[in-house]
């Protein structure tokens, strides 16, 4: 898996992700970046398991929100900062898997607002289950 440092031309975002201690604490990795697009991956760990062995829904939500922030950051101009003001997530199925993949795509990139659609998939070997979808609204601060 590639690290952000390898993902040119988004090197300037490295400090932003470094400052997100919660994502670092979980061990979330940025696995793909493009303009208006981001993918994050998180491996399973017992410590955030639900009773049935799936990822906690709170973790699924955190990834859905964070991948949206990162996708928005790829289209943010120097000096601009966007923060999440709301998101809505639907849980579609089980998040049982050996890792989660969160994918964020910008739907609208405005000066005041950025609207991002996030999807989260549970990966189990070669199986991929769509476990959540969300729409995230970010506003310029």
């Amino acid at each position: 898996m590639s690290k952000l440092q390898d993902l040119e031309p988004y090197r300037h975002l490295a400090s932003l992700f470094d400052s997100q201690k919660f994502m670092r604490h979980l061990g979330v990795e940025i696995t793909h970046l493009a303009d208006g697009h981001c993918e994050l991956t998180l491996g399973f760990d017992e410590s955030w398991s639900e009773a049935n062995g799936s990822f906690s829904n709170g973790i699924v939500g955190s990834l859905a929100e964070n991948v949206a922030c990162a996708a928005a950051a790829t289209l943010t101009q120097p000096g601009e900062q966007f923060l999440t003001v709301e998101y809505k997530m639907n849980l579609l199925g089980s998040s049982k898997g050996d890792r989660l993949l969160a994918v964020g795509d910008i739907i609208k990139s405005g000066k005041s607002l950025k609207i991002v659609r996030s999807n989260v998939y549970a990966i189990n070997g070669s199986d991929r289950v769509h476990c959540a979808c969300a729409i995230v609204t970010l506003a310029a601060t």
Binding site: N90, L92, I107, K108, I115, I135
Partner: protein, 159 residues
């Protein structure tokens, strides 16, 4: 994920019959312009009575169109002798809905048990160019064994 096998072989007739009984959709002049299992489009031509103060289509109408498209996209994969109800929806308005026509496009993302999740988008069409006006997530419930008729078939209503 757009391949959903219809559980009801008569889904097309059932959905179109239900749509024809939605008085609000008839009132605004809406047309069910596309239907396949898990997918539904509804369009409405512009008229002054559907606009807000800036002359754009009213936001409530734009949401209602998306809700109706999502409802029928869900209903198209429901079994016989069932009906559909909206549980919740969340929408984001992306651009002013300015055009000759609005088209709402909804598709099923997934269904588990009675709960169906959908995405819906609305586009304003002006001189053939589409502007993305709304995007949203919709949750529908399948009420199996309940009639799709007025009052869920519980009582007769005067037509």
């Amino acid at each position: 994920m757009t391949d959903f096998a219809p559980k009801n072989p008569d889904y097309d007739a059932v959905v179109r019959d239900s749509f024809s009984r939605q008085a609000f959709m008839a009132f605004i002049g809406a047309d069910l312009s596309r239907l396949s299992p898990g997918i539904c489009d509804i369009s409405v031509p512009h008229q002054a009575g559907l606009t807000q103060q800036h002359g754009f289509f009213h936001g409530g109408l734009v949401s209602a169109l998306a809700d109706s498209a999502a409802g029928y996209a869900a209903f198209s994969i429901f079994p016989e002798n069932s009906t559909v109800l909206t549980i919740d929806f969340k929408v984001n308005f992306l651009n002013p809905s300015e055009g000759d026509r609005l088209v709402a496009r909804a598709k099923v993302i997934g269904m588990e048990g009675k709960i169906c999740h959908l995405s819906g988008d609305v586009f304003a069409v002006k001189e053939g160019i589409e502007t993305h006006c709304l995007t949203g997530i919709f949750t529908m419930m399948c009420l199996e064994g309940r009639s799709d008729n007025a009052n869920l078939g519980r009582e007769k209503v005067a037509s």
